[in-house]
Amino acid sequence: MDLTKAMEVSASGMYAQGKRVRVIAENIANADSTAEKPGGDPYRRQVITFKALLDRATGVEKVGVRDIKRDQVTQFGERYEPAHPAADANGYVKTANVNAIVEMADMREAQRSYEANLNLIGMSKNMIQKAIDLLR
């Protein structure tokens, strides 16, 4: 039935957005993770990408995670802290390339998409209910 398939598709969307929130949470949690020794790299933020994938069992196009990659573009930050174990000769420590504002904006977007999918499940469910009500 098309309406139950619609609910399955929406559920796959919610699952994908949930994964996205998990990746963002990892980024924010590791915002202050630095290297152990001088010269090492601190935490590199992760980026998630999606792709549309055809579910052959039901013939519907769902959404899935393409991959989760490390952000190689954004530069690491630097902080002056000579007492830090990972400080270089000049007393600077490399900090993770996590920007709290970027992560927050990303998280809000994921939240909105999640809500949209959730609303659509409710809508499809209502439609099924309307069809069942025909029996009464």
Partner: protein
């Protein structure tokens, strides 16, 4: 009594099937709202004229002579997926889904579904009224 043999009921049943399919396509659009290069889709609008013609069968010239040719009956085409026209905006990643637009369409779809099921029920009630014994 086969309700599907009554044109109105058959039409409503087909409309419900069409709305269900459209809901699935819209759900796919919304689920892929953050997928790069994804273009939103929609189903072909259900044409009342085509439905009515499908009901009556295409008009055929009367065969009065066995040598007359009979045309192959052209069945109305079923609803197929097509790309929606004029995406409102396309992001840098090539995604053209606008959540607001898709949700509006889904809402419209749900309302139409409710309308059709209510119509179905009302017509059934009318039948029952006619069948009720008069005392």
């Amino acid at each position: 009594m086969d309700l599907r043999k009554i044109p109105l009921f058959d039409m409503m049943a087909r409309r419900l099937a069409w709305l269900g399919q459209r809901q699935q396509v819209l759900a796919t659009n919304i689920a892929n709202a953050d997928t790069p290069e994804y273009k939103p889709r929609d189903v072909k609008p259900l044409d009342f004229a085509v439905m009515a013609r499908g009901q009556m069968g295409p008009l055929q010239p009367t065969v009065t002579n066995p040598k007359h040719l009979v045309s192959a009956t052209a069945r109305p085409e079923t609803a197929g997926k097509q790309k929606s026209k004029d995406p409102v905006e396309t992001t840098i990643s090539g995604n053209a889904v606008t959540l607001e637009e898709e949700l509006m369409k889904a809402n419209q779809n749900a309302t139409d579904y409710e309308l059709t099921t209510n119509l179905y029920r009302k017509h059934l009630a009318m039948f029952r009224e006619a069948l009720r014994s008069n005392n």
